[in-house]
């Protein structure tokens, strides 16, 4: 049964991208375990505003685990200590009375901090722009059932397509690698006949952009897969490697 708990929240505060950051610890009392983690931060912000202080800035939007906007590195875990969920789906019943909860922004060279816990993930958009699409214009496409797709392929493509682009993979990776994100998109299209036509160009372009933007080299630690809120598998990374190598050897 949910009860009320008293906690301390140790939050990273940083005024701007260039400024020096530091931790602030805020005590919070009577937090219902039925509230979500972000609702707890709402309560903290309400308190800070009432004290005339600036609220903690963090990214969030849909609050149902699908938009990929929320982030936060909580007690050593991207998206906190629960599996298969985003921070907005994390509930306070995962914490106990008296806990000190450390909240940090995603840390990676690819994701510079904007303010407090908010980071810039524009790099993901740029990788997508490099090749994360099938080149079709609006209109003039064949009937949806013109090309049958084996159900297993469609399901595997869907598994990969479930990526929400939150960046937890990069945040979890000791190498700051974006391979899980890139491989999920490359895999989705490599598995579908519509995407296969451009598979070579896509794999090369997306990997080149990923490298250019300063993400690290994957060393297959698998941390990304463990922390991914959508349980995207690292077998996608093997597929990306395969796609990329095939494309390069074909040149």
């Amino acid at each position: 049964m949910d009860k009320d708990i008293n906690i301390k929240v140790k939050v990273w505060r940083q005024n701007g991208p260039k400024e020096k950051g530091h931790f602030e610890t805020y005590p919070l009392e009577h937090i219902s375990q039925g509230s979500s983690f972000l609702e707890m931060l709402d309560i903290l912000n309400e308190k800070l505003i009432n004290e005339g202080k600036e609220p903690v800035v963090f990214d969030h939007d849909c609050r149902e685990g699908i938009c990929g906007m929320c982030s936060l590195y909580i007690n050593g875990h991207p998206h906190g200590p629960d599996e298969g969920i985003t921070t907005c789906q994390l509930h306070m019943r995962r914490f106990n009375d008296g806990d000190t909860i450390t909240v940090e922004p995603w840390r990676s060279a690819g994701f510079p901090i904007i303010k407090d816990l908010m980071v810039d993930r524009m790099a993901f958009d740029k990788i997508m722009q490099a090749g994360g699409y099938v080149s079709v214009n609006t209109g003039g496409v064949p009937d949806a059932n013109a090309i049958p797709i084996p159900r297993d392929d469609a399901e595997m493509a869907m598994d990969a397509a479930a990526c929400i682009g939150c960046g937890a993979c990069v945040a979890a990776c000791k190498n700051g690698s974006a391979m899980l994100f890139v491989s999920a998109k490359v895999s989705q299209f490599a598995l579908l006949p519509q995407g296969r036509i451009e598979r070579k160009r896509r794999a090369k372009a997306m990997v080149a952009k990923m490298d250019e933007l300063g993400f690290g080299n994957c060393t297959n630690t698998g941390a990304c897969e463990v922390e991914c809120p959508k349980n995207i598998s690292i077998t996608n990374i093997a597929r990306l490697n395969r796609e990329f190598l095939k494309a390069k050897f074909a040149d």
Binding site: A172, T221, G222, T235, A238, N241, K248
Partner: protein, 224 residues
């Protein structure tokens, strides 16, 4: 082929292929070592007549050496780049993500193995092939005897034991990771490859470590 150094997957591919090649070398080296358990004479024959200073042995040594050098250099490049990609500011709370310990420490394990390798090269290869090639006095041809001498020291045996433990960890991650980086993996094969990797690593490391222990305890050259 500049992509082998310029692209992340290319770099990983080099690391993967060089690693797999070195695993093959280790298997070969280990098989040869096992001969010591049975016959010093046969071992000397292999060391002097089959390998020794023959042209193929020299070429082989060169290739293997290049394999090591590439693996080490690429390993250093990858590690430095990855350090940079992590960003200047580190997490204050230590990661609680559950991953294989070896996978997080490949560089350190590799460094330790490298340190061992240099010692090992000085102890054996330098005394045997290197001296002979450069006509330095005192090149040894009694290879088995040399091995027996070196492994009569308990500290050296312990050092080898530690080194192969490190190598075991390095290989358990390295084997499947190499195949993964080369794109040779999928959902079905993931478990199989990991198991195979553990088996190969264990065979290699056991095969290597059994020799110094047996020599030290006097259980070698059993067939005389």
């Amino acid at each position: 082929m500049s992509w082998l150094i310029k692209s992340s997957i290319g770099r990983k591919f080099v690391q993967s292929i060089s690693g797999l090649f070195l695993i093959l070398f280790l298997l070969f080296h280990m098989s040869m070592n096992l001969v010591l358990l049975f016959s010093y004479e046969a071992y000397d024959f292999l060391a002097n007549e089959i390998l020794g200073a023959n042209w193929w042995a020299i070429v082989g040594t060169g290739v293997i050496g290049a394999g090591f050098v590439i693996h080490v250099i690429w390993g250093i490049i990858l590690t430095l780049q990855n350090q940079k990609a992590r960003g200047k500011e580190k997490y204050a709370s230590s990661s609680k993500t559950e991953t294989a310990w070896s996978s997080q420490n490949m560089f350190v394990l590799g460094l330790f193995v490298l340190l061992f390798l240099l010692t090992h090269l000085f102890q054996f290869w330098y005394q045997m092939q290197f001296k002979e090639l450069l006509m330095i006095d005192g090149a040894r041809h009694d290879s088995a005897q040399l091995v027996a001498e070196v492994f009569s020291n308990i500290w050296i045996v312990i050092f080898y034991l530690l080194a192969f433990t490190a190598l075991w960890f390095h290989l358990t991650h390295g084997f499947w990771s190499a195949l993964h980086s080369a794109g040779l993996n999928n959902g079905v094969w993931m478990k199989r490859i990991k198991v195979l990797g553990n088996v190969v690593s264990t065979i290699i490391c056991l095969g290597f470590i059994i020799v110094p222990i047996a020599v030290y305890l006097g259980y070698s050259n059993l067939l005389g």
